[in-house]
């Protein structure tokens, strides 16, 4: 019983409760780095790590946090994990850290993290909260990664910095510029919503 519930907690944010499609949350900090797959992977790893661990921590402390100042406490805990991500990146991947610039710090204001904490971790035990945070992070990761794949492939003809398309390919430079991110996200949301509606009307 408990196991199947955990499984459900894990699967929901990946599919029909995906934070990006359904709630359109948290695209702020990461959309900006989706012009390269590599940067996106690092950023989404950071988001997943922060979401999972801050949900776990807050769930552990949920009975001790006074509800009046709980937003402040939650922000502090989230910020502490983001500082860890920032320091680790700066120490081991200084090049990557430079490229990501302010966006690592902006993970703090990513609405997904606060959203999961408020909606789930405050009323659930630590383990389910950890699972929920982790899979929300994963659901977020695959959406952002698919945006990044489209943008890098069309915009630079490469994936992970390696040239895939031959010299016949003309780069769509609009894709790596800001408007490209808006268009690709809009198209992906459109496709997913359209298919969800079709499923609903069949059922």
């Amino acid at each position: 019983m408990a196991k199947s519930k955990l499984k459900k907690t894990f699967l929901e944010p990946l599919g029909k409760n995906n934070p990006v499609f359904v709630q359109i949350l948290g695209i702020c900090s990461t959309l900006a780095v989706t012009n390269k797959v590599q940067n996106t992977v690092v950023m989404t790893l950071g988001v997943t790590f922060t979401t999972a661990l801050s949900a776990w921590t807050i769930s552990l402390l949920r009975n001790y946090i006074p509800s009046r100042i709980r937003m402040m406490v939650e922000t502090m805990i989230i910020a502490a994990f983001v500082i860890i991500v920032d320091i680790v990146l700066k120490a081991y991947y200084p090049e990557m850290w430079k490229q990501l610039g302010p966006y690592v710090g902006l993970i703090i204001t990513n609405c997904i993290i606060m959203g999961r904490v408020e909606a789930f971790a405050l009323n659930n035990k630590p383990l389910p909260s950890l699972v929920d945070g982790f899979s929300s992070g994963l659901g977020y990761t695959y959406v952002l990664l698919s945006i990044a794949v489209v943008r890098e492939l069309l915009g630079s003809g490469s994936l992970w910095g390696v040239r895939i398309l031959g010299s016949w390919w003309t780069n769509w430079s609009i894709m790596i510029m800001p408007p490209g991110g808006f268009f690709v996200l809009a198209i992906i949301i459109w496709i997913i919503r359209e298919s969800i509606m079709k499923e609903a009307s069949h059922a």
Partner: protein
């Protein structure tokens, strides 16, 4: 002159919403009505123009001398939250009209990524105190400009026939993409480094 260039560039060529995607959450959800967008936009201009130089002072005069730069995320968030809270209290106490117009938007602003983003950009680009004021003011105006323009367009869209899957956030993102392209037209004039 340098300050003026930064001010202008942060409104148009380096618009914090349309080129850095910051503040998207409230941009998508609040841009339905022109009036609320104006209120939120004005509140963002005010908070950004004040917290960016405020965070500059805290960073340069407190964090750097004590070697605590790595704490900047937490400290910036606290400064922003405290400032927003104080402003809300002051407005409630002294100006009923302004509180009605702006007060309800202030709590929304603490979690607006654009505010924290402006402070983080200010640190990375190593602005001076006066430049960071103009940068914060310009970024706020740029954000307000984008959301007000979007609200105007979305009000016209109410009568338009949109594919059901694209309604709401989808069409808003498409319009934002076109707005970003339009703003790119300014990029030959001035650049934000």
């Amino acid at each position: 002159m340098h300050n003026f260039a930064i001010f202008f560039a942060s409104i148009f060529t380096g618009n914090i919403l349309l080129t850095n995607y910051l503040g998207m959450c409230s941009f998508l959800s609040v841009s339905k009505e022109l009036k609320t967008s104006l209120g939120l936009g004005a509140a963002v201009v005010f908070v950004m123009a004040t917290t960016t130089p405020l965070n500059w002072m805290v960073y340069e005069w407190l964090l750097i001398p004590f070697g605590l730069e790595y704490l900047r995320f937490i400290v910036f968030i606290i400064v922003i939250a405290a400032f927003v809270q104080l402003t809300e209290m002051a407005l409630e106490r002294y100006s009923e009209g302004l509180y009605q117009a702006l007060g309800i938007f202030l709590p929304l602003i603490t979690v607006n990524c654009a505010i924290l983003g402006a402070s983080l950009f200010m640190v990375i680009r190593e602005y001076s105190l006066s430049t960071s004021f103009f940068f914060g003011l310009g970024s706020g105006i740029g954000w307000a400009l984008a959301i007000v323009a979007m609200a105007g367009i979305r009000q016209k869209l109410k009568t338009a026939k949109i594919p059901p899957g694209l309604e709401g956030p989808g069409i808003t993102l498409v319009i934002a993409g076109f707005m970003a392209m339009a703003f790119m037209g300014f990029s030959g004039m001035i650049a934000l480094s």
